[in-house]
Amino acid sequence: MEFEQTRRIFEKARERFGEDVSLSDRPNTEGSIVVEPSRIRDFTRWVRDEADGGFDFFGEVCATDFLGRSPRFDLTYTVYSTTANRHLHYKTRVDDPDPQVDSVVDIYPGAGWHEREIFDMFGVRFNGHPDLRRILMPEHWRGHPLRKDYPLGGEEVQFSSNFADITPQTLPPAPGEDIFLGWDVLETQPSSYTQLLESGAELEHDGEGRMVINMGPQHPSTHGVLRLLLELDGENVVKAVPDIGFLHTGIEKTGESLNYQQALTLTDRMDYLSPMGNNLAFSLSVEKLIGLEPPERATVLRVIFAELTRIQSHLVWLGTHALDLGAMSAFFYCFRERDQILDMFEMVSGVRMMTSYICPGGLREDVTDDFVPALERFLKVFPDRLGEYETLLTRNPIWLERTQGVGKISAEDAVAYGVSGASLRGSGVRWDVRKAEPYCGYETYDFEVPVGTNGDVYDRYLCRIEEMRQSHRIIRQALSRLQPGPVQAEERKVVPPPKSEIGQSMESLIHHFLITTIGFVAPPGEGHVPTETGRGLLSFYIVGDGSPKPYRMRARTPSFANLQALPRMLEGCLVADAVATIGSIDIVLGEIDR
């Protein structure tokens, strides 16, 4: 979205809200509208229904702690339009002590979990939120980890020089407050579980044949460490309450303590099934912040790798989803092809999964000579292999019985909850970021966006199968465009100069030294580029402050929003259908909990 568009919407907002809105002064960006906290609900309603045709899809709300500034916290809302193909940022600012703002949950239901996350991580209260509890950290955690005055924590590393001084459990004490509660936290947690199961989470018991059961966090078909509280009437699910945070890794906090190149490596570990997709989203945001264009060859290779990643991610989904429903052979077939793709990743980056191959400025290295032949071999066999999977499942009566009409969600609900990716398209909404807001030149590729009609597990299955076919098509086209050339931008202040140049130029030597020791510097501003990974809308929101480290690194992850809609899909289903439905929204807990 261009700055001019934001300005146009701002001018309309000025007519309506007067002095309560202003235009953000941050440079290098698409701009955002700043709203007085007291008008946030009116403004949000206006944005949803009227502003420039309306923005129906709630992307995220993200907080930034500007410690020392008054007002202290920025809340940035990002909303999208699924029909007009654009997005808008607007902000409100709240101050210490006791920061609070009105909740927008009743306007955008999808805001529910995002607001809870901000409450958990920043301690901003949302008035009128129906269920404002911690979401990622344990219930009785003290402090709000993403505030800038909260220590990073962890353990000091033991070297031989300081080995004796450090006891393994040392954690940095917080200023004035004992934030780390020690291992007592772990000791008391089981009782809080029981409480939650018996009374909490607003589960209503009428005492008449209702039962609350616990599913997870250790359960073979929750795809990781998801915990679900299911309230049952016989075998029918009356209500489902997801409990997440069992894999909370502090990726955003750690990323803010590292420089940009180092923070890139954390993104691999977020959605570990599409590492290249995460690398790409992060790199695009950082490139936007520093105003850098990667060369043509790098962009084409990025498309190839993003699509290969989509295929391998869908293969894991298909294999495990089928396994959950009792079809074991699909698992072995899918992993056979996935290994073929991982071999190519290993060829170019040296590792199978955590590649960090796509980086700000282009790619880490050019592809090896044997990459293109290997890719051609894969492209040759893949359509037949895809046919094999379909023979196993698409017309299989057991598969149809387990998936058709199960876990339904309507198009309106899916959009309202911020569901994206194939989970949204299964309900018939033709919204794919690659088409709606193209990046990496996706507008020049010829491909279809498959959509379903019923919004059930089976339609989501068909959508993903067809997406793999379309990805195959895109890779074929990209491969035919691949021309020799550089894969890194010629920007010496960001991309380290080649070895040959260092021996001849003093300036190159200095750049190389600075980039490797300190990292490259990004100007103050904000970078945000929406992308489409295998799971849906992924965007990084990077706030630079003129230092080599991101001041704020926030990931809007698709699984987080998709999981939020799970209770809606499960209403009225059977317990066994819960397994099918969880499999069909293709969640990765690593990016939900971050």
């Binding site: 950290m137 344990p138 955690w141 980890p145 909260y150 220590p151 990073l152 924590g153 962890g154 353990e155 590393v157 006891t167 393994p168 459990q169 954690l171 780390f180 020690g182 291992w183 007592d184 936290v185 772990l186 000791e187 947690q189 089981p190 966090p217 250790q218 359960h219 073979p220 990781g224 460490v225 945070g245 069992f246 894999l247 909370h248 890794t249 502090g250 990726i251 906090k253 750690t254 490596t265 954390l266 570990r269 570990y272 099934l273 894991v316 294999g319 495990t320 698992f331 072995f332 992993f335 056979r336 996935r338 290994d339 991982l342 199978r352 999964m353 955590m354 807990l589 690593g590 909990d593």
Partner: protein, 176 residues
């Protein structure tokens, strides 16, 4: 456990023990329990190309009560720590633990407030596998190393209390 062949009453006992250890090592039943990225490589290890069945450890069980090997595949968060401890306690003796990957071995790149710096602060570990994530080959090597340890009697089945450092906060966990 007797290990001397020249003590007469020990002969039979020692042999049975050896046979038992051989049997235990050759039919490890891992616990189907994945946490993060490493769990995906653990799944690759089960699939056809690497095929953990060659080492008799393919029977992944979804219940801790049917498993004797816990592969901690991924980072262990503060919220997950007590859950892992409980799952470990639910596994019947004899039982073993492989810490797969850098995170479960030592916290990996996530040295922060959210991650327990090594699962060995919560449960005892027999084999550590380096890597982020380790290749399936590395996991297979860890399984064979564990088998060797079981056969040699080095990896002792069942509970072991770690020795907590003086005044350590972890004391309460291990002795409870």
């Amino acid at each position: 456990m007797a290990n001397s062949h020249d003590v007469v009453p020990g002969v039979v006992f020692s042999t049975v023990d050896k046979v038992a250890r051989w049997a235990q090592s050759s039919s490890l039943w891992p616990f189907a329990f994945g946490l993060a990225c490493c769990a995906i490589e653990m799944m690759s290890t089960v699939a056809g190309r690497f095929d953990i069945a060659r080492f008799g450890a393919e029977v992944f069980r979804a219940s801790p009560r049917q498993a004797d090997l816990m592969i901690v595949a991924g980072r262990v968060s503060m919220k997950m720590g007590p859950v892992i401890k409980r799952l470990y306690d639910q596994m019947p003796d004899p039982k073993w633990v492989i810490a797969m990957g850098a995170c479960s071995s030592c916290g990996g790149v996530f040295n922060n407030y959210a991650i327990i710096q090594g699962v060995d602060k919560v449960i005892p570990v027999d084999v550590y596998v380096p890597g982020c994530p380790p290749n399936p080959d590395a996991l297979l090597y860890a399984v064979t190393r564990l088998q060797e340890k079981i056969r040699s009697g080095e990896a002792r089945p069942g509970h072991r209390i770690l020795e907590p450092a003086a005044g350590s906060l972890s004391e309460s966990i291990h002795t409870s």
